[in-house]
Amino acid sequence: MSINVSFTLNGEAVSAHVASRTLLVEMIRERFGRTGTHVGCDTSQCGACVIHVDGRSVKSCTMLAAQADGTEIVTIEGVAKNGQLHPMQEAFREHHGLQCGFCTPGMIMSALDLVKQNPDPSEKEIREWLEGNLCRCTGYHNIVRAIKAGADSMRVG
């Protein structure tokens, strides 16, 4: 069965007919070509697919596209504005918070939701928040530093 799904994707109104079982991440990657959102597992563990749906971080591999109808979606491609990196993106670069880059979009999207809820998170709070985001390269050390620095500049900025 095919259904029509419409939402706002990084500020742009989009719409598509998809099979009703289509996952949100599939729709974003395959119908709209926004491939910055990644799929790293099939059990909601890794967090490479984290996006924002109506301002909250969500694992887009665990949500049907149909459930996103009428929502406002932001993916990693929508974080930088007018060619200007977001302070959190800049912090990941500055603090070497990424190596292979595969988990990075999910990490950044997750970090942005953390800072929204807790503008000045402690190291411990950052580590606990990242429970749903796996990284196999960095050992998290520099991701934690990056998120702390990103939060600091967002407060200042």
Binding site: R34, V39, C41, Q45, C46, R93, H96, Q99
Partner: protein, 787 residues
């Protein structure tokens, strides 16, 4: 130091695309009119294939084709080759079974490929795969080393009696026996090196794309070494001449060794693409990764250390059984032999060493390299054994190590197990590490932990490893079926920007930055005017890729040699332009000057002159400014270091938390300290994962119980502390960069430091031994006396 040159913590060029979501991983690539492949895999560990009924699947709307092993065999498709041959101690070659990409007669592990469905969408391919009906006659199986070794055990391969692939040895047995006969004391240990799954966060993927017009194939694949895949798949499996096969490994989301191997799926999509004349794309889901990516480690060992009454090491005897899985993976046989037993001298002057390794087949996923590949197994065994010796003799563990260290004046040092270490200063790393770890005040921290009801322990390891396997002729004599050099091409463009083509492959290591730093240092060009191209056999000369911490020590040196050729030619051109003698030209900071004068020409102008050779010595010099170097190292490099771990154990639950971790490493000279620190953080975390969390578990029938990220425990952010890292530098003596390699050290040095720390924390509990992973249950049971 030049800004952005050698030694600078330059921020990475590659980051921008990854933090903005513009990286291009294989699954991000789509080819026009592509089909989606779904592999049908064996659900049983061992069985005969009676019949594969594909009728219902083919009848499904949207299905284009279903192929089986019989179809591939009918096309004359060859087996997946093994890249390393080992000879048993009786002189016989290892048992080397055939490995068809799709099994036609028999399946030998859960996950073995049986058939492939090609369909218009991924969803249709998955649905149709459910309709492929394979009739198996299930056969008895062996799921682990113990059952494979039992009398009368079912055989994985009929010609591998006792399931033994090879029975290999290294070292002088009689000298070692003599050392034990003369020893005052002997320490023994039994070690299980737990089986692991690499779990790069990007699952493997492959797209085969056949161009009928040109009769050419392109394979996009998640590989650490695209040229190796082109050679193995083109020459051995599909008989495609290399000039008709292009392999592209674009952005790759982590490898850790698991993406070295040539996998069946690469051959299946490439072959199938020609069969249906459409591109064919396959992407593993994570469940598939668990049962198809090469696994790592899985050794069981017994070791004995002979000592004098003063604690001098006299001899080491090691007996290891290694699980190779059901088939030989690309470098599977090299891991428990050449990459393992040759490292058993560690940092110590043990004069006699003998090791024997029985490699065995089991009905499990093939086993191959995982970060460190053999060296973590050697280091873990040795550093656990030395700690046990310290406990048994009552000598302080650091003092016992120091007493036996190879000293700086001993280099070059020939070990009893084939390697010749070129340089090092092991005590210097210990001094740095214990200072950074504030080791002197550990007792105070232990009391603080005790006040909170926690048992605190400290553990140390002093590891050594060998990187950049070389030289090729020696590796060949040891069984390598490939060269182990690397290639670098420097293409100076007419306007002075530089394109580097390297055979190394970056999948997180940051070559696009560090290799550019080498160019900046050598040519004085702007960092932003350097581009590093890798991962495409259509662009890059034949190179061997990235594994074994070889990129800087082999690929970086190849690049340096090519840069030196550019410098030499640029000086000749400058000499002509400046009407001076070539010997008088100085090349510094991007300017070529006549020594002692103010006459100079910018490197960019030299480049332009090379491509617009109007004023140019055409009689003696070719136009253009592009040079290539192939570099085959004289020896391995030998990073070493000291890791110190502190843990807290909760006595009520057995939960272990790493609370401090310090690494003092010697990687030789360092191109980018920020990147090196990051490699250590990641490596140590994988080592902590092995020590405390990760374990691949099969049940007795060969079913993988840890088949998802819910069951296989990867370290999370709150499982690890911040890391304290420092380096001591003894430059490698045999390469121009003085570099050694840093990618694997973290995973090599850390597991023993962690377990030694846990045992230290349990020192009041009479716990002698603890196998990895030291899960809360295992620790708690050991504390109850049930270890």
């Amino acid at each position: 130091m030049t800004e952005n040159g050698f030694g600078a913590a330059v921020r990475r060029k590659e980051d921008h695309r990854f933090i903005t979501g513009l990286g291009q991983f294989v699954d991000d690539i789509n080819r026009p009119h592509q089909l989606y492949a779904q592999i049908i895999r064996s659900p049983i560990a061992h069985g005969k294939i009676n019949k594969v009924d594909v009728d219902a699947a083919i009848a499904m709307s949207g299905v284009v084709a279903v192929f089986t092993g019989a179809d591939m065999a009918a096309d004359g498709v060859g087996g997946i080759p093994c890249g390393w041959g080992i000879t048993s101690k009786d002189g016989s070659p290892m048992v080397e079974p055939g490995h068809p990409p799709l099994a036609a007669e028999c399946v030998r592990y859960v996950g073995d490929q049986v058939a492939v469905v090609l369909a218009e969408t991924r969803a249709i391919a998955r649905d149709a795969a459910e309709l492929v009906d394979v009739d198996y006659a299930e056969l008895p199986s062996v799921a682990n080393l113990e059952s494979a070794s039992a009398d009368g055990a079912p055989l994985v391969w009929d010609d591998a009696k006792g399931n033994i692939c090879f029975d290999w040895e290294i070292g002088d047995k009689s000298a070692t026996d003599a050392a034990f006969a003369g020893a005052d004391q002997v320490v023994t240990i039994d070690i299980v090196n737990n089986r692991l799954i690499a779990n790069a966060i990007e699952p493997r993927a492959a797209i085969g794309d056949y161009d009928a017009g040109k009769d050419e194939y392109t394979l996009y694949t998640t590989s650490q070494n695209p040229h190796v895949i082109r050679m193995l798949m083109g020459a051995f499996v599909l008989s495609i001449p290399e000039h008709k096969l292009r392999v592209i490994a674009p952005d790759v989301g982590g490898g850790f060794g698991s993406k070295i191997c040539h996998y069946a799926e690469e051959a299946i999509v490439t072959w199938a693409s020609r069969k249906v004349n459409r591109p064919v794309k396959w992407t593993a889901d994570r469940s598939e990764s668990f049962i198809s990516d090469a696994h790592g480690r899985d050794h069981v060992s017994h070791a004995e250390l002979a000592m004098s009454k003063d604690g001098d090491f006299l001899g080491l005897r090691v007996s290891t059984r290694a699980n190779l899985g059901a088939y030989l993976s690309t470098f599977g046989p090299a891991v428990p032999t050449i990459l393992y037993a040759t490292l058993l001298a560690g940092s110590y002057k043990t004069p006699a060493i003998h090791a024997e390794v029985k490699a065995m087949f089991t009905h499990t996923v093939p086993v191959d390299s995982y970060r460190g590949a053999g060296r973590p197994e050697a280091s873990y065994l040795l550093e656990r054994l030395v700690d046990k010796a310290a406990k048994q003799t009552g000598i302080d563990p650091i003092e016992l190590r120091r007493r036996n260290f190879i000293q700086p004046e001993d280099f070059p040092y020939q070990t009893p197990v084939a390697l010749e270490y070129d340089t090092g200063d092991y005590d210097a790393a210990v001094v740095k590490a214990i200072e950074l770890a504030d080791y002197a005040n550990f007792d105070q921290r232990r009391e603080e932990s005790a006040a909170r009801g926690k048992l605190r322990g400290v553990g140390i390891s002093t590891y050594i490893e060998a990187c950049g396997i070389a030289p090729s002729n020696v590796a060949g004599a040891l069984g390598a079926r490939a060269g182990l050099y690397e290639v670098g091409t420097v293409r100076v463009n007419p306007t002075g920007s530089v394109t580097v083509l390297t055979g190394s492959h970056s999948h997180g290591q940051g070559h696009e930055t560090t290799f550019a730093q080498l160019v900046v240092e050598a040519l004085g060009v702007d960092f932003d005017n350097v581009d590093i191209v890798h991962g495409d056999t259509g662009k890059v000369p034949f190179g061997m890729g990235t594994y074994g911490s070889r990129s800087a020590a082999v690929g970086g040196v190849a690049l340096m040699n090519a840069l030196e050729k550019i410098r030499t030619k640029a000086k000749k051109i400058a000499a002509h332009l400046l009407e001076a003698s070539e010997d008088d030209i100085e090349f510094k900071d991007g300017q070529l000057s006549v020594a002692g004068t103010d006459r100079s020409v910018a490197f960019g102008d030299v480049a332009m002159a090379a491509y617009v050779p109007h004023n140019y010595p055409l009689e003696t010099l070719e136009p253009g400014l592009e040079e290539t170097a192939f570099y085959d190292p004289k020896n391995f490099t030998f990073p070493a270091g000291c890791h110190i771990c502190e843990v807290e154990v909760d006595p009520d639950t057995g939960v272990v938390q790493v609370v401090r971790f310090t690494a003092g490493d010697d990687f030789g000279r360092i191109i980018n300290p920020m990147i090196v620190d990051g490699q250590v953080h990641g490596g140590v975390t994988q080592g902590i994962g092995q020590a405390l969390y990760e374990q691949c578990v099969y049940d007795d029938s060969g079913q993988l119980l840890t088949g998802s990220m819910m069951d296989y425990c990867l370290p999370k952010a709150d499982n690890v502390p911040n890391f304290a890292v420092t380096t001591n530098v003894t430059p490698c003596t045999h390469n121009v960069l003085g570099v050694k390699g840093c990618g694997e050290a973290g995973a090599i040095g850390s597991p023993s430091a962690v377990i030694n720390a846990v045992l230290n924390a349990l020192s009041d509990y009479n716990v002698d031994d603890l196998q990895m992973p030291a899960t809360s249950e295992r620790v708690w049971q050991a504390m109850q006396g049930n270890g």
